[in-house]
Structure formats: C-alpha cells, structure tokens
C-alpha cells in the first residue's frame, strides 16, 4: 500500500470505527482511535517500533472499549490484522475475568463485526466459559467466520449422534448444506452415502467436470508456459476448430481431469482444457484450481491467474483468483503444463477446478450431456 493510500485508509478507518461504536462509553479516546487506525493500516516499510508502541497502548484498553479495535479488523491490512491482534490478545489476557461473559457473547453475535473479530471474541469466551461458547454455535450454521461455521457443523452432528436414524440423517443433510471446508463436506457426504443417501462429492463441492481438451503442445524446457498457442488466442471461446477438442467428463470425486489419460502420457508438453459454465448472476466469483503442474486460467478470454510451479504438491483450491463473470454462459480456459522431471512422483499431469463464492459455496453449474 502506498503511503498516500495508507493515509486515506487511516482516515476512513478512524471514521468507520467511531461510527460503528454503540454509545459513548465504547468510544475510544482520540489517542487510542489513532493507534487503532495506525495499526490497522500497517504496511511494509512502516516504522515497526512505532507500531509496537501503539500495540502496547492498545494492550491497556478497557474492557468496555474493546469493540473498536475488534471492528477495525474488518478493514485491516494483513500486517494490520496481526498488529491489532497482538494488542487485543494481550488486553484480553490482562483483563482476565474483567472481560465479562455477556460482553463477549454480545461481540460474538455482533454481525457488524467481521468474521475475524467475532472469531477472536469467541476464542476469548471459549477460554473463559467453554459451555457458554458452545451454546452459541447452534445459530452459526450460516456463519461467515468459517472456523465458527465448522465448529457449528461439528456440534450439530455431535448433538445428533444420540438421536435416532431419522434425526441423524436430517442433521447430516443440514450439515452438508452448511459445511464449506472440503474435509468436512467429504466426511458428511461419506456418512450420507453409507447411510442410504448417496451423495456426489464432486457435485457437492461444485467441481467443473465436463471439459473439452486439446491435443498436446510443446513445453520443452518450460518454454510453452509463456507461449500463446492458438487456443489462448480467442477472445471468448478458445480460438481453435471445434473438431480439435476432445470431450472429457471427470468421474473423480474431486473433479480431476487426468491429462495423461485424456491426451497422452508425455513429458515436456502442455494442453488446454475449455469448459462452458452457467452462472446465476453477473459479478465476481472465485476461480479455485489445484494442480501439481504449472497452470494459467482465463475466464471469458481474460487471464485471471498464472502459476509456473511444477510438482510442489497439489491441493483442492490450491490457487484462488477472483474473476468477473456474466450471467448465463461463461467460458473457462485452463492451460496445464507438464515439465520434464523424471522422478516417479513427477508424472502426474492433471488439474481440478471449481467456481465459488468467497466462502466456498459452489456457484457455477454445467448443462448435462456432452461438453459443448
């Protein structure tokens, strides 16, 4: 963040923090408000000793004024979040039982606070009164703080474990709707499948499964990564004759497209995959891809991410980028590059991709039938 942008940010934050306070007792003194704003806007190159001094002062904040720095987490920079937390955690530690349970419960429920603020307050409450904290989870199945939502889903299932089969089934169906963490979704889907309610994991997680895949292009020495072959020269739909694309439908639980199977088992090559997806509304959405290979992704002809990393692990949602989508049909193009490493673990050439909201809820759908 530039110095000028930082100053504007500070001014907005000071104003926002004060507006968000309820009642004069919660309003921080002018000096404290300035410290909060300074910490929240922390950026590379800032005077760290001055930030540490501001965090020291924040650590002395009174219990009835702790909401303002929690609110400031909503607009804080990455460094700023940690500076604020540094002061806040020390304040909570110092205040001990002076941080009343009712106040903490109120902060956890305060929807004007952002997920990190509520999550932090929940942690302080849980450390002081675990049962009181757990009692709040029942209303958190739609929580934006994903750690709290995860805990709420886990509690829903734990509470249902003592019930009859119908109650457990209902709880798991409700949990599947609420869950966003991939491991939790998979565990619930597995339970449902094993208990007479077959659940498609790939469908639940929203993987794009129907693709058109190109033939192999040269990537000797990694040179193909930056080379614009015909498929990436089109403006919207890829610029290549339709007959040259091979339809591939993934039956993998994680929507993997195995290019060794779909194209050929080769090294030093790359391939393109193209999919048409339907979006319910125009606007931004997250494109989430995982691959052990180097990848480039375009949405409607606009490049949204490029990662030239080979065989350094892979994971669902490994790389995430926000892209603009239009309502209805959208075109996603993936370029997936294989290198020439010879180790046994460097043979994989594949990817999986899904399109979600910021919390991980799938947004894109595909028409049934052969890929278009």
């Amino acid at each position: 963040m530039s110095r000028r942008r930082g100053m504007v940010f500070v001014m907005v934050l000071v104003g926002g923090g004060l507006i968000g306070l309820r009642g004069s007792a919660a309003e921080p003194a002018a000096g404290v408000a300035a410290d909060i704003a300074r910490l929240a806007a922390a950026a590379p190159g800032d005077d760290q000793l001055a930030l540490a001094a501001a965090a020291d002062r924040l650590a002395t904040v009174a219990a009835d004024r702790i909401r303002a720095p929690l609110a400031a987490l909503g607009n804080a920079t990455p460094a700023g979040s940690n500076w604020l937390r540094s002061g806040l955690d020390r304040a909570a530690e110092r205040l001990g039982d002076g941080l009343k349970l009712d106040l903490l419960a109120e902060l956890v429920a305060d929807k004007e606070l952002t997920p990190r603020g509520r999550s932090l307050a929940f942690g302080w409450l849980e450390a002081r009164a675990p049962d009181r904290a757990a009692s709040l989870l029942a209303g958190m199945l739609d929580e934006e703080a994903l750690d709290l939502r995860r805990a709420a889903v886990a509690k829903l299932l734990a509470d249902a474990a003592a019930g009859d089969a119908a109650a457990q089934l209902a709880a798991h169906r409700q949990a599947l709707e609420a869950a966003r963490d991939v491991d939790q979704v998979e565990a619930i889907a597995t339970w449902l499948t094993e208990h007479g309610a077959p659940t498609d994991v790939a469908e639940t997680l929203g993987f794009v499964r129907r693709w058109l895949v190109s033939d192999a292009y040269d990537n000797a020495g990694g040179g193909g990564f930056a080379q614009a072959y015909p498929p990436e020269q089109g403006e919207a739909a890829p610029g290549m004759a339709a007959a040259d694309w091979k339809p591939v439908v993934s039956s993998h639980n994680h929507g993997e497209i195995d290019l060794n199977a779909a194209v050929a088992t080769k090294k030093g090559v790359l391939a393109y995959a193209h999919a048409e997806v339907e979006m319910p509304a125009a606007g931004p959405a997250e494109v989430r891809i995982g691959s052990p290979c180097a990848v480039v992704v375009w949405v409607n002809g606009r490049q949204v991410m490029a990662h030239e990393i080979y065989h350094a692990s892979e994971a669902i949602d490994q790389y995430v980028a926000v892209a603009e989508f239009r309502q209805g049909a959208n075109f996603v193009l993936v370029k997936c590059c294989q290198n020439e490493q010879t180790e046994p673990w460097a043979g994989e050439w594949k990817f999986q991709l899904r399109i979600t909201d910021p919390l991980g809820k799938p947004l894109a759908t595909q028409r049934t039938g052969e890929p278009k």
Binding site: P44, A55, P78, N82, D147, D181, Q184, A312, S313
Partner: protein, 399 residues
Amino acid sequence: MRSMLALAVVIGMVAGPGGLRGEDWPEFRGPGGRGVAAGQAIRSVWSETEGIAWKADLPGRSTSSPIVVGDLVLTTASSGAKQDRLHVIALDRATGRRRWERVYWATGRTLCHSTSAVAAGTPASDGQRIVALFSSCDLFCLDLEGRLLWQRNLAVEHPKSGNDVGMGSSPRIVGDAVVVQIDCQGDAFAAAIDLATGADRWSVTRDPIANWSSPLSVATDTGPAVLMQNGRGLELRRLADGGETWRWAGDCSGIATTAVLEGMFLIPSAGIAAVPVGGREPAWRAAKLAPGIASPVAWDGSIACLNRGGVLVVGDTADGGIRGQLRLAGMFWASPIVVGELLVALNTEGKAFLVTVADKPEIVAENQLPGTFAATPAVADGSLYIRSETALWKVAAPE
C-alpha cells in the same frame, strides 16, 4: 570474488548484543547450528512414565524444534482447518507451565505436505528476542515477555514466495541480524533483517528452486558471514552487505544442511563432500556417509550421517574413512545431535536411540515416547526437550 583460502574460518555463534547463557539452546540444532552439546550428560533411560520432568500438550501441530532461552522453552505451532493460525508459545523451563502464547494470522500460503507443517522452521533467539518464521513466510520478532516487536509478512512483499510442500528453512541469527532463506520455485530470495528494527539490511535473489536447508552463521576474520545452500551448491555472504565471498557449485542436498568443522565444509552431496573453506575441490568424498533428510553432525574429528534407510554411519573428518555403521529402526526426520559421549537419534515414531560414537557406534539405550516426531531435540543443562507434533516432553537431567 575474493578467495578465502587464507582465511581462518570457524563455525559458531557470531557475537551479538543479546544475553544468551552458555546453557541455552537458542536455535535450530543448538548453538551455531552444530547439533553438539559438549560436556553435557543426559539420562540414559526414559519413557512416558519414567524420567520425565514435565509434559506440555500443545495446540495444533508442528515439526519445528523447541529452543531453550533463560527460563523459557519456546516452540511454535499452527492450527485451524487451513493451518492459518500461527502460534508462538513460551513454557516455563522448570515446570512446563504455559507462560504466554501469541497467535497471529498467516498472510501467505499454508498448504503443506502431511509430513511437514506450517510451523516447520525452528525459532531462534539472541537471548533478548525471539524470531519465528513460518511456512507462510511470516516472520515475527517478540521479546521474552511475548510482546510483538516487529513482523515481516514476506509473502506479501514477495507474492510468489512459498512452497505448497511446505517451507522448512529455519531463521538464523547472525550478529545483530536474522537471516532468512526463502527458497522456492517462485520469488526466491534471502535477506538479512535488522533484529532491532525489522528493516532489511540486504536482500538477494536466489535460484528459483525449492530447498529446505537452513542458513548457517560463520565467523571469518573479515567479519560475520552466512552460509546458504541449495541443490546447486553453497554460497558464503558477508553479513554486512550481503556480498558473495565464496561459492561452490555441485550437486547438493536441498534438505540436509552442511556441517562445518575445522575449516572444512562437510557438504551433503551424493554422500559427503569435504571442501576446504574457500576451496573448490573436495579434499575427500565419502559415498557411504549419505545423509537423507536428517542433517549430518560433526564433532571432534568425527561425522555421523543418518541415511534414508535409517542406517547411522560414523566416519572421520580427516579423510572420510568409515569407523562403523549401525541400522536403527524407522524413519528419521529429526537430525541427530551429540551430547557428551552420546549421539541421540530420534525416529518418527518417538524412539530415541542413544549411541556411543567415540569409536565404533553401538546402541546403549532405546527410549520410547508416544506420538509422531519430526523435530530435532534440544538439550540444555543435561535435560532433553523432545517435541512431537502435538506435545513437548522435558526429559529430566540425570540426578
């Protein structure tokens, strides 16, 4: 590039402003990163129920080693579904009671292989401050009371830094700076960061290849320097300005860190290549001394390596001659350390082998703790500090 052939070079802690005590174990593999605690003696028998001073359960998971500074034992961990909560934890050295714990949010990538952790790098201390580097490329500096002094979110500053296998290099305090080695396929770099202010002293671009070895502090007669390696070789840089003063090119481990002893770099390179400091050609090579993931340990004219098959090989640093070898059971991610007359090798299943290494290696004891272990033990005042992924034990000093 200046030849250093004539320079007397010794490995060791470069004098800094801090208040380390002789009995501290302040960084990865102890003082100077040597993995040697000369003159100490540890008890020969322990278990979950015997010889334990205390056990502390820890949050999340970790593969980093504990360090011992004054009356504190410090360790790191990460927690949360995405392992994006970064913990720095201070335990009371005498009781194991938690003195303080600080949690921060990761600002970089937190994916890693199941055998590693976001808390993989071992923290370091100069006796006044603690620096902790996580796989997310977040570097935090705190005082001994848990007050955050400065932070560097290196993946924010270098957006393509990081490695989804997990970064494992530990920070190294050299003089009044901390050196970090951020080797990866993206934005690879190394930097010396002022301990007092958190500002860069220097930063240099490195080869864009993954690497998990840690920098070493080296005292030369021209001032403190830092030794860094990757799969393509070694380089020595001045602490003052980052200028390169020596380079050795050759196949090199990207995990096991070079040992330095008596003017010789003992480089994990298809076995061990013993290259005189400032030299180019190895004085000797020993293929049988083949460290796997664990770093070699060198002391008093000896070197010991644990290979990927769990075979401990002990040799002479004068010529690479093999004195003996011994098959230990299991896999080893923790590096062996030498305490007095014993070598301690801890396998991933929590079995610690105590091996006499003065002559031909022989097992004298095997002690078991429960859990999964990847961290190199720490030792201070005859007590061992052994960390599993989720707990830390203090093995009491012998009575």
